[in-house]
Amino acid sequence: MENAPPVIEACNLAKKFDDFTAVESVTFNVFEGELFGFLGPNGAGKTTTINMLTGLARPDAGTIRIAGIDCSKSLKAAQHLLGVVPDESNLYPELSGYDNLCFCGALYGLRKRERQARALELLKRFGLAAAADRKFAGYSRGMKRKLTIAAGIIHNPRILFLDEPTTGIDVASARQIRQLIADLNTGGTTVFLTTHYIKEAERLCRRIAFIVNGRLVKIDTVDNLMRQTDGRHVVRFTMTEEAEGLCKAISGAFPHLQCQTVSQEAIRLESREPVRIGPLVRFIEERGAEVSEARKLRPSLEDVFVSITGIAAAAMKQEQEKRKSGDGA
């Protein structure tokens, strides 16, 4: 894929809001036909980076080239190549699904017949044909996300930016959207995906960048990132009692284990050596808690994320979900 030409070239991007540094010295390339993941917690600078790449924000420093076009000089020419699906569905509530798509097609200069045909094709492809004439305001959250993605690709963009496409929607819709993203990429569209679902990024992306506090901390292929987990052993214990406080005791008694509280009733143990479950179960039960499940886990990209960023992925996901449900749509 690195042999393909870069279609997004971000070099030393920086953005400040008053005294707050949102993005600092961010440099990366995304190659033609790639599905690139951009991961980080809330406030890490993901959306600010997307806004700079798409022209909704001006970088304080650095350069952006889209398909070789210098965005500081010819932003509108670059925007013609981009499709953008924001983190919140921002179509027009008073227009129908079909009219929304036709309108978005017109913004990119599609002629009437062309945009009408394309709108019908996308409605069918996204399983929204039956709701084509319904107002967007009456759509479910999953339908809104699907239509927003359809609006982002109505003009067949060369590069598609997807900001948290599956956040806050039901499992079936999320699965369908993931399949649609994979299909789009297979069809040749370069996809720039931000998500806080690390498993989603692991499943979809070929390369991933981790951004924390406005700085890129790691960028590599999923395969290379996963190699960092070779030789690691992970066990998850689920208890009937609260797990709070147990981690400290376990770390004291088993110094080779790294312990992390996953939820109120679950802990996660990681070690470079094989983890013996029996002594641990006895240790926990001696402290009055009953182990209901002990499961060996295959190390995942989430483990890599945690080890690189020091941020608990579960906490990041919860925080994001809370923010989404608070926002409404």
Binding site: G55, L56, A57, K76, V84, N90, C102, C104, Y108
Partner: protein
Amino acid sequence: MNRWVAFWSILVKDMRAYYLKPPNISWGLIFPLAWTGMFFIKSGGGIEDLLALLPGVVAISILFGTTSMLAVTVTFEKKNRSFERLLLAPISLELLMLAKTAGAILFGAVNAFVPVAMAVFFTDLSRVAWGMVVPAVFLIAVSSTFLGLFIAVSVSEVFEAQTFSNFFRFPMIFLCGLFFPIEQLPALLRPLSYALPLTYGTDMLHRGFGGASLMPVVMDFGMLLFFCATLFLISLRNIKRRWII
């Protein structure tokens, strides 16, 4: 890319989504009717005074029609982020804002002719200089729309846009010679009148409807064009500075 496809679609979308809604149509009918009735009763004159009232009623209909709509079509869309979709489109900001304001200009112009259409049944309009009235209506619609745009991009909430626009609109009713001649205003207020675009538009309307005018027609035209250009350019600068951060 044919950018006019985008321009036309934005205009048609705004017309369908906002301007042609029943509440706006009824607003366009009731508002001029109410103002005509109010000043007709206040003046205590007969039906022959109707022609003298028309410039003020036409001007106020345009002013309120245009400025009210921009708070919705621009501030509301900015608030719910659908405006971002327009900013991401590969069309220049100038063309985009002309498309967003074209609907309001048309709406204002149509509003202007509602009282004129009503007046046809009550008074003789054969002496009206349409060659003066029509350009005046158009220029008032454009300058009022751009004033509404200036207000809409200066705030972030719809209610702020409404409140802020009243800060301009209500004084303009009294300061721009709509119903009270500028010469009769206190000397201290008169400079304010000349700093408002509606003064020049109303002056053109008075001339067009056969009344007395204060300034040469070239000056009225020139000042209206100056206000249109200035307000539009300031609004564009504000959008670039405040919205494309």
